[in-house]
């Protein structure tokens, strides 16, 4: 490749990175700007940062419970999905039976548009009195997280050679024992990656939260539009909430980057 060509490529990449990262940078900056700086006619790049917005929204406006709800919901749904989904994934990876492919397809709730899923869920939860509880959100999130766990873990289990199974059984383990004591530890890295992805999906989720929880169970994501108040949108505070809502996920992304492709394509591609 000629030098000029090479430089052009790098330059393109730099432009792409700028486009990709500037908006988020602007958001972080807005969360640190005073109201005057944020609403100035000319965009302000150099300014004296103020950390006011964070305590104002999380403490004065009482947004800490929302943060806590997000943490609880995401953790619980991850746990639930793993406990229920990992064994199921194992079955799909190791067993052959007639309805296997169709059943696996059934687990493809990825196709169901959330809005179609949430309408009946809303009616059901209203009927049994679960509306506006964290539980309703945990259950709702578990529907897509379960799907993710099954798809991902099937791939991870399939990666473990069957010889290991046979060896463990020759060592005297029962089937269940082999699963618990031999396979699970081997699949642990995959499980960790899956867990992080489940957590992320739940943390970022908006639609179910918007409809199923109104007060008690509110998570951080639905708290964001709630800051559009009659005293003008408080952009500093809104940005602060958005930053807190996004930073953990970025950290997690870096951790699971290796397994991201598998996770995002729901196990279809190994990456």
């Amino acid at each position: 490749m000629s030098r000029g060509w090479r430089m052009a490529m790098v330059a393109t990449l730099v432009v792409v990175l700028v486009i990709a990262l500037t908006p988020y940078l602007w958001l972080i900056m807005t969360s640190l700007k005073s109201r005057i700086d944020a609403l100035a006619d000319q965009p302000v790049w150099l300014f004296t940062p103020t950390f006011d917005h964070y305590p104002k929204v999380f403490i004065d406006k009482d947004y800490l419970p929302l943060l806590w709800n997000s943490v609880v919901v995401a953790s619980t749904t991850t746990l639930l999905s793993l406990v229920v989904g990992v064994p199921a994934a194992y079955v799909f990876a190791r067993h052959d039976f007639a309805a296997k492919e169709d059943l696996f397809f059934f687990f493809t709730t990825r196709m169901a548009p959330p809005i179609s899923v949430v309408v009946p869920m809303f009616l059901l939860f209203s009927y049994i009195g679960l509306i506006d509880t964290r539980t309703s959100l945990i259950l709702a999130h578990s529907t897509f997280n379960l799907s993710l766990v099954v798809w991902m873990m099937r791939g991870f289990f399939a990666d473990i050679p069957r010889e290991i199974d046979e060896a463990a059984q020759m060592d005297g383990h029962s089937r269940a024992g082999m699963f618990l004591r031999v396979l699970l530890p081997l699949a642990a890295p995959g499980m960790a990656a899956t867990a992080v992805l489940c957590f992320m999906l739940s943390w970022n989720e908006f639609l179910y939260a918007l409809i199923l929880v109104a007060f008690e169970g509110r998570t951080l994501t639905v708290g964001i539009p709630g800051l559009v108040t009659p005293h003008g949108t408080l952009w500093g505070q809104v940005a602060a909430v958005a930053v807190v809502a996004t930073v953990p996920i970025i950290v997690f992304t870096v951790i699971v980057q290796k397994h991201l492709v598998r996770g995002l394509t729901f196990g279809a591609i190994k990456g």
Partner: protein
């Protein structure tokens, strides 16, 4: 391929574990998804409404379905808008994603690091993405509006989210900003997993880069490309969060995607009977499009393996 134990005992043990392991997840899905879904289809035959009195869920037969087919131009316009959105975003994202993947594959050394940075847009909560862009595109103090006006790409008194002709393209571009990294990631992973031999053979035969791309890279990547198109297509159909925050469906009904329209009928008008039909229809549309695509991929894959 199954680990077979000997005799009847083996059969029992085999069967024994599987149901126990599968049952909890099946139960969960049936209770949370199938059950409510059936219930919703049931509601679609009633007049249930939280808004109007005496609409407690009396049976009305196919009235709601007739209304959807004949009497709801907004649903169909919504459908068209969504299809347009899906087509535009998937095309732009595939092309840009492919280009980026090729760039990273051929010309960049520190791929992992660059990729991590590039992935940030798609990791942000979509609500936050909507908010971020709303801030930047605001008519008076938006950073992006300002610079677009400075370079003359935007009229001094035009705001992208308030202008009929600009609002949909703006939304499409924002979606492309968010999801092109996804396409890049998957295609790059695909490229990295391709076998070396065909490429080496082609180079030895003296084929140029364009020829290699067209005749070797693309065919080998075909399945993965199809999968990415499918995944992005499905997700684009489900789009809600960003658009809800950015425009709420407006101006007028210019950005009223199907998901937003469904939300509006069910949770603003509280017309739950009719809303059930709309929700059901949206699901059917996605299911049909998916199945068609899915079967096409399987069929192509099967054809490839048979070759």
């Amino acid at each position: 391929m199954t680990v077979k134990e000997s005799g009847v005992a083996g059969w029992l043990v085999d069967r024994g574990v599987a149901p126990v392991f599968l049952a909890p997840s099946l139960i969960l899905l049936v209770v949370l998804l199938v059950g409510p879904f059936v219930y919703m289809v049931g509601i679609s035959f009633t007049d249930l409404s939280y808004a109007l009195p005496n609409h407690d869920g009396n049976f009305v037969g196919f009235d709601n379905y007739r209304r959807l087919m004949r009497d709801d131009p907004i649903f169909w316009s919504s459908f068209a808008t969504t299809l347009g959105f899906v087509a535009a975003t998937v095309s732009i994202e595939s092309l840009a994603g492919l280009g980026l993947a090729l760039l990273l594959f051929h010309h960049i050394k520190r791929r992992r690091f660059v990729l991590t940075l590039l992935l940030i847009p798609m990791m942000l909560a979509p609500v936050a993405v909507g908010l971020m862009w709303k801030l930047m595109l605001q008519g008076e103090f938006g950073m992006l509006t300002h610079y677009l006006r400075v370079v003359g790409l935007l009229g001094a008194q035009t705001a992208p989210l308030s202008t009929l002709s600009l609002v949909m393209p703006t939304i499409v571009l924002i979606d492309a900003w968010e999801w092109t990294p996804f396409v890049t990631l998957v295609l790059l992973a695909g490229m990295l997993s391709l076998p070396r031999e065909p490429f080496e053979a082609a180079i030895m035969d003296g084929a140029g880069p364009l020829r290699i791309f067209r005749d070797i890279t693309m065919p080998l990547l075909r399945t993965i490309i199809a999968l990415v198109l499918l995944l992005r297509g499905i997700d684009a159909f489900k789009e809600f969060d960003k658009v809800f925050i950015l425009t709420g469906g407006g101006p007028g009904i210019a950005t009223e995607l199907l998901s937003i329209y469904t939300w509006r009928i069910n949770f603003r008008e509280w017309d739950l009977g009719y809303g059930a039909v709309v929700a059901f229809m949206v699901y059917l549309v996605v299911l049909i499009l998916c199945s068609v695509f899915h079967k096409a991929i399987y069929w192509t894959e099967a054809r490839e393996t048979r070759r």
